[in-house]
């Protein structure tokens, strides 16, 4: 039973990683930037959710605002941090991204304090339901449902709508897409908008899951998300989704079976390094 | 006449399409050999396999009586197999003369320890300057390769390859993209190489220049040798004309 339970916990984490990593891999696919500041957007979403929910008593309002604010923040990051640097070698925007992330993290510390904030009222945290003998709390279920809904919705948008097809074309061949009337700049905005909204929601959900929001909460998740997009084959969305779930499960088992040798955070990266040495192009190859 | 290099029954395919399909031919010491053929015949592939940039699926590459098939590019370069890229690849962060110096200093760069011990670049600079002068870039030595027009960048690519003091120089379409006047100058330039002890294998589409400068021609078609011999005789053959034009 432990075996199955670990797999389920792993998949829940995998869903959370997927919500983070999809935005990162889209940004990478489009602009070749390792968007480390995505971690800041994740933490921003969590802070907006906890602050608004505690002030108004409405978790729904908190989540709605988390989604909106992180989406806007993502677009602003593109416009003011990355757009002026598009002609530079990828090293340059990556360093800027690291700098921006540090600034955001320190900003949260200054505004909200170093010790973190808990939700005043977090009913989902304590309510559990047993599915096939495995106890899950409502936050974990919400995590799975929201990631599936958002990612499937996104997948349908990308493959069925005109706009979605247009920007998939932009990722594969910007010049060709432009000549067919797709505006590449708008596509970039849409990707930052969508990816950042996902990250913000993921952050808010992780806040609920831990019942705690702190300045550094984005760090580890986003470093792992970086590992995931590399595992998935940078820019490859399908590979990223697969890698998210695989990493969630590997970590989950690793935490039990490798507990005496490595901590949880090292396991993901160890897995990444081993995979890359065998398959330098990632699990499914470059997108 | 001695054989300097020989490729022996090479096979390679990309995604199921054979680019070399039992390809064999020899290069004689001191000759100027041109490899021609219609698009997709496997010319560039052949050159890249000899240079070590591509690994054949099967077959052997012999250079100077030594089997070099499994040696990496840099080792082949040190054994005397020079190569120029079809799309020029200068070091853009270097000046023109530094591009040639890094090749001219190949004894210093052979091992990291020798490289760390040595500092004087004078000898390499003089050698590089002489080569650039000879090749007609004497005025451009301090410029960035970015500032050079394509014709001069192509010459820089040749200059860098010569600075390695190769015994065999593989030139991949050095005339492509040049005006007819530039192409003629470049052809005249590389034609002088055998006289200075460098055997040349030229892959080129510009048939006019090829027929003017080559001692011998190998015609490839569909990944194998269709014909080889003196330029005029080869070009007179019906099968060669058909491969090129589709008509007899």
């Amino acid at each position: 039973m432990l075996f199955v339970e670990l797999a389920v916990t792993g998949l829940v984490y995998g869903c959370m990683y997927a919500m983070m990593a999809v935005g990162l891999t889209l940004v990478y696919g489009l602009l070749r930037i390792l968007h480390i500041a995505h971690a800041g957007v994740f933490a921003l979403g969590a802070y907006v959710a906890v602050v608004v929910a505690n002030a108004t008593g409405s978790l729904a309002l908190g989540f709605a605002l988390a989604l909106v604010v992180s989406a806007i923040a993502g677009v602003a990051i593109y416009r003011f941090a990355y757009q002026p640097l598009l002609g530079h070698p990828p090293f340059v925007p990556m360093i800027v991204s690291i700098g921006l992330f540090i600034v955001m993290q320190e900003g949260f510390r200054m505004v909200f304090g170093a010790y973190g904030i808990a939700f005043d009222d977090n009913p989902w945290y304590t309510s559990t339901v047993a599915i096939a003998g495995i106890n899950l709390n409502y936050v974990e279920i919400a995590m799975v449902i929201s990631s599936v809904v958002l990612l499937v919705g996104f997948g349908l948008f990308a493959s069925l709508t005109r706009a979605g097809i247009g920007w998939r074309a932009t990722v594969t061949d910007p010049q060709m897409a432009t000549s067919f009337g797709v505006d590449p700049v708008r596509v970039r905005y849409v990707i930052f908008l969508f990816g950042s909204a996902l990250a913000g929601i993921a952050g808010a959900l992780v806040g609920l899951l831990n019942n705690y929001v702190e300045p550094t909460m984005g760090g580890l998740v986003s470093y792992k998300a970086l590992a995931i997009i590399v595992l998935g084959g940078l820019g490859n969305v399908r590979g990223t989704l697969l890698a998210s779930l695989v990493l969630g499960v590997v970590e989950s088992y690793g935490t039990i079976y490798l507990a005496d040798v490595f901590d949880r955070d090292a396991i993901g990266f160890l897995f990444l390094i081993v995979v890359l040495m065998v398959r330098p192009q990632g699990l499914l190859g470059r997108g | 006449m001695t054989v300097l290099a020989r490729i022996d029954d090479l096979y390679i395919s990309f995604g199921g399409v054979a680019a070399a399909n039992g390809m064999s031919f020899a290069v004689n010491t001191g000759e100027f050999l041109a490899v021609i053929g219609p698009n997709g015949a496997g010319k560039t592939t052949a050159l890249r396999m000899v240079a070590g940039i591509l690994q054949p699926d099967s077959g052997r590459i012999i250079f100077n009586d030594r089997d070099v098939t499994s040696l990496p590019t840099h080792v082949r370069a040190r054994l005397g197999l020079g190569f120029t890229h079809q799309v020029v690849r200068p070091f853009y962060s270097f000046s023109t003369i530094e591009n040639v110096m890094i090749a001219a200093g190949h004894r210093q760069t052979e091992s990291p320890w020798r490289a760390l011990a040595g500092r004087s670049r004078e000898e390499a600079r003089m050698k590089a300057a002489a080569i650039l002068e000879h090749i007609g870039l004497g005025e451009q030595i301090d410029k960035s390769p970015r500032a050079l027009p394509l014709g001069q960048r192509k010459r820089l690519e040749v200059a860098r390859a010569i600075a390695l003091e190769p015994r065999l120089l593989l030139l991949d379409e050095p005339l492509a993209g040049l005006s007819s006047a530039e192409a003629a100058t470049m052809a005249d330039l590389i034609r002088t190489l055998p006289a200075s002890g460098i055997t040349v294998v030229l892959v080129e589409h510009n048939l006019g220049e090829v027929l003017r400068v080559a001692d011998r021609i190998v015609v490839l078609d569909a990944g194998k040798v269709l014909a080889e011999g003196a330029p005029k005789e080869v070009m007179a053959r019906d099968d060669v004309r058909q491969a090129y034009t589709g008509v007899v």
Binding site: G268, L276 | V75, M101, T109, R121
Partner: protein, 278 residues
Amino acid sequence: MSAYVASIVSVVGINMILALSLNIITGFCGQVSLGHAAFYGIGAYTAAYLSKLGVALPLTLLAGTITAGLIGVVVGLTSLRVRHDFLAVTTMGIGFVFLGFVRKQKWLGGELGISGIPASGLDPLAYALLIVGAAAAVIAFTVWLKRSWMGFTFDAVADDEDAARTVGINVSTYKLTAFGIGTALAGLAGGLYIYFARIILPDTFDFVQSIAILTMVVIGGTGSVWGIVASTIALTLLPEVSRAASDYRLLIFGAMLMLVMRFSPDGLAGLVRRRTTP
């Protein structure tokens, strides 16, 4: 007062070795590393462990240097398989693997690290001078390397690996050499650090430390030597001169990374160069 000066001088010297050693890998040879602090940590842990067994100072430093360099060469092997962005994330991962490993090792003190490290036998000022001497040697070595054929060859590898191969350069060997030298020097910095701090904690060698080292390199000018020397001194002293700067050290680092990259991607050195050459 003089103890205070000695401690600042020691920190400047250690940071300088760290920044210049990362510069050999990232600045000279063009291989991005986001996990340099791990090698600082490997040097420190090796030296600390041996010092507790009673091994004398020169030997602990030597062992720290060699261990970090050897592991660095192994890690450098990854740079032969993956490039650029893949390498950045891989080296970042190596930092986390190192931390995750030492945190779980009881014989290395786990989360609490190693304390009670024996004294160097020198008074603080003399030990600070030893560190300064080591930093000076590293500066001299780096200047030599940059002007040598090795520096020239690193430039070629950083610029275009395929073109480097066609001019007979063994790209793999040179990359591993850069990793070996750079990580060994980081290990030396780690060894020097333990007799100064007398206690080491895993978190001293975390991702933030790797980024702090990278900040000094980037702000000084990736691939420069004197720019990095200047930026190391400035960034290390900054938190000391003002209380505010010390509270907001990370914020300032982050903001500087953004601003420097935005307005002068080749750092201070590039800024100076553009001022002096019209």
